[in-house]
C-alpha cells in the first residue's frame, strides 16, 4: 500500500511538472506584456501552440539525418526526467535518490549536447553559429553551476536535493554570505541556461544575436513542439530548484497526510508565480548584452560560486 502511494506521489510530480510548465511560460509572457502595458496573449497560449505544432506535419531538411529526428525526443525525455527529480511540492519521493544535484545538472548537459549536435546536422551556418555560441556559454555556465552545487553541498553535507531542502529549513544554517553568493550565482546561471535576456532572447530572430533559436531554426511540427516543451520544462526546473533550495517552506515531508501535500502544492504554485513574476520584471528592466559580453557575465557567476565556497571556511560550522 505504501509503495503504491509512493509511486502515486512520484507519478503525480512527473505529471505536475509536465502540466505546469507551459502555464509558467505563458504566465511569464503575460506578466512581461503587462509590464510593457500591452495586453498580451492568454496564459493558455503555450498549450495551444504546442497542440497546433503537434498536429502539423514535419518539414525536414533534405540533408537531415536520423540524429536530427531522434534529438527532440531525447532532449524532452532528459529534461523531463531531470525536472521530475527536483522536489516540487514534496521531498523524499520514491525515486528521488536516483540522481543527485550533480547528476541533474549533467542530465541537462546531455540535453544540450544533443541539441548542439542537432544544430550542426543540417549544415547551414545558422545551426553552426547557434551551436558554437551555446557550447561557449555552457563551458562557463556548467562549472559555475557545479561550484554553486559545491557550496550548497558543503553547507548541507549532501548533494541529494531532498536532504539539502531539509537542511536549508533548519535554523542552524543561519545567514551565510556564501548562500547569498550561491543564490546570485544560481540566478545568473539559470538566466543563461534558459536563454533569457540579457544572455539570449527567446523571441528574437535576428541572426546576430540568436543563440538558442538559431540551433532550432530547422525544426518544425512535432519536433519543434518537443523542443519548446523541453525549454518550458527547463525554466520550471530552475525555478523549482531555486525554490526548493532557498525557500523550502511548506514543502511536504515524506509519508505525510494528504493535507500536507495540498499545502505543499499550494506553496509550490505560489513560489512558481513569484519566481515567474520576478523573472519577467528582471527581463523587462534590462537590455540584452552583446554575445561577447556573456563570458564576463558568466565569469562573474563562476567567481561567485568559487567565492561562496571559499567564504564557507570562515563561517560558523566549517
Amino acid at each position: 500500500m505504501a509503495l503504491i502511494l509512493d509511486l502515486l506521489v512520484q507519478g503525480g510530480q512527473m505529471a505536475l511538472v509536465l502540466a505546469l510548465s507551459p502555464l509558467l511560460t505563458g504566465f511569464v509572457r503575460k506578466v512581461k506584456a503587462r509590464l510593457l502595458r500591452r495586453r498580451g496573449p492568454s496564459m493558455l497560449q503555450p498549450y495551444r501552440d504546442l497542440l497546433r505544432l503537434l498536429r502539423k506535419e514535419v518539414v525536414l531538411a533534405d540533408n537531415a539525418s536520423w540524429l536530427f529526428r531522434v534529438t527532440p525526443y531525447l532532449i524532452f525525455a532528459a529534461t523531463w526526467v531531470a525536472a521530475a527529480l527536483v522536489p516540487t511540492f514534496a521531498i523524499g519521493l520514491k525515486f528521488s535518490w536516483t540522481a543527485d544535484l550533480i547528476a541533474i545538472i549533467a542530465l541537462l548537459g546531455s540535453a544540450r549536447f544533443f541539441l548542439a549536435l542537432a544544430g550542426m546536422d543540417v549544415g547551414t551556418s545558422f545551426g553552426g553559429i547557434g551551436s558554437s555560441r551555446e557550447v561557449m556559454i555552457a563551458t562557463l555556465a556548467e562549472p559555475a553551476m557545479l561550484l554553486i552545487v559545491f557550496t550548497l553541498a558543503l553547507v548541507a553535507g549532501s548533494t541529494q536535493l531532498s536532504m539539502v531542502a531539509v537542511m536549508m529549513s533548519q535554523p542552524e544554517v543561519g545567514l551565510r554570505v556564501s548562500l547569498g553568493l550561491a543564490l546570485i550565482g544560481l540566478i545568473m546561471v539559470a538566466i543563461a541556461e534558459n536563454a533569457r535576456i540579457p544572455v539570449d532572447n527567446p523571441t528574437t530572430h535576428l541572426e546576430l544575436t540568436m543563440v538558442h533559436e538559431a540551433m532550432v531554426l530547422e525544426y518544425s511540427g512535432r519536433h519543434l513542439a518537443m523542443i519548446e516543451f523541453a525549454a518550458s520544462l527547463k525554466l520550471l526546473l530552475y525555478i523549482s530548484l531555486i525554490a526548493c533550495v532557498f525557500a523550502p517552506w511548506g514543502i511536504a515531508a515524506p509519508d505525510s497526510a494528504p493535507l500536507a501535500y495540498a499545502i505543499g502544492t499550494a506553496a509550490y504554485l505560489g513560489k512558481l508565480a513569484l519566481g515567474g513574476a520576478l523573472l519577467a520584471l528582471f527581463e523587462t528592466s534590462i537590455a540584452k548584452m552583446r554575445v561577447f559580453r556573456v563570458p564576463d557575465f558568466l565569469g562573474a557567476a563562476l567567481m561567485l560560486g568559487l567565492l561562496g565556497t571559499l567564504l564557507l571556511f570562515v563561517s560558523r560550522s566549517l
Binding site: 543561519g174 545567514l175 554570505v177 564576463d296 567567481m303 571556511f313 570562515v314
Partner: protein, 220 residues
Amino acid sequence: MDGLIFDIAHLFAGGLVLVSFMLLYQDRLYALLNIFALHAFVLALSVAWQALVQAAPHLYVTAAIALGFKAIVIPVALHRIIQRLGIHRQVETVVGMGPTMLAGMGLVALSMVVMLRVTPEADPLAREDLAFALSVVLLGLLMMVTRRNAVSQVIGFMSLENGLILAATGAKGMPLVVEISVAFSVLIAFIVIGIFLFRIRERFDTVDIGALDDFRGERK
C-alpha cells in the same frame, strides 16, 4: 542569539568582500563611483553593527564618518571632478577582467589561509573579520596596480582603507582618536590626489598615469 550576532557581522563583512569584487569587475567610471559608495555604505553598516554588539558608542562616530564622507561626499565630489575634467568614461585596465578576478580569488584564498592559520585560538568573530579585512585590503591593492586611470586608483586606495577600518573595528579596542585621524588622513589624501589630478590634467591633457611615465622617459 549568539549565532545571529555572528551571522549578521559575517554577512556585512562578506558583503564588503563581494563589493570589492564588484569594484574590480566594473569598467565604467560612474558605475565605479556608485559601487564605491555602496562599499562605504556596507562598511558603515558593519561598523554600526559592531558598535551595537560591542556596546561601544564611539564606533557609531566611525560609522557616521564612513557614511557621510565616503558614501556621500567623496563620490559626489569625484563625480564632479570627472565631469569637469571630461575624462574618458571607460576604466582602462592593465590586464583583462578574467585574470584580474582570478588573481582576486587567489588573494582571498591566501588571506583566509594566512589569517585562519595564525589565529586558531582567537574569538571566531574577530578571526573571520580579520580574514575578510585582509582580503579587502589586498583587493584594494590589486585594484590600484591593475588600473591605469588615476580616479580608479584613488578609489582602490580608499577601498583599501575601508578594509583597514573593518580590521580595526573587529579587533575591539582601537581608540576613537586613531580612527578619526585615519579618516581625516584619507580625506586629506583625497584632497591631495584631487589637486594632483587637476595638475596632471592641466599639464598632460589626460589622467592616464602612463603619461607620467612617458614624461619621465621610462616608456618609449
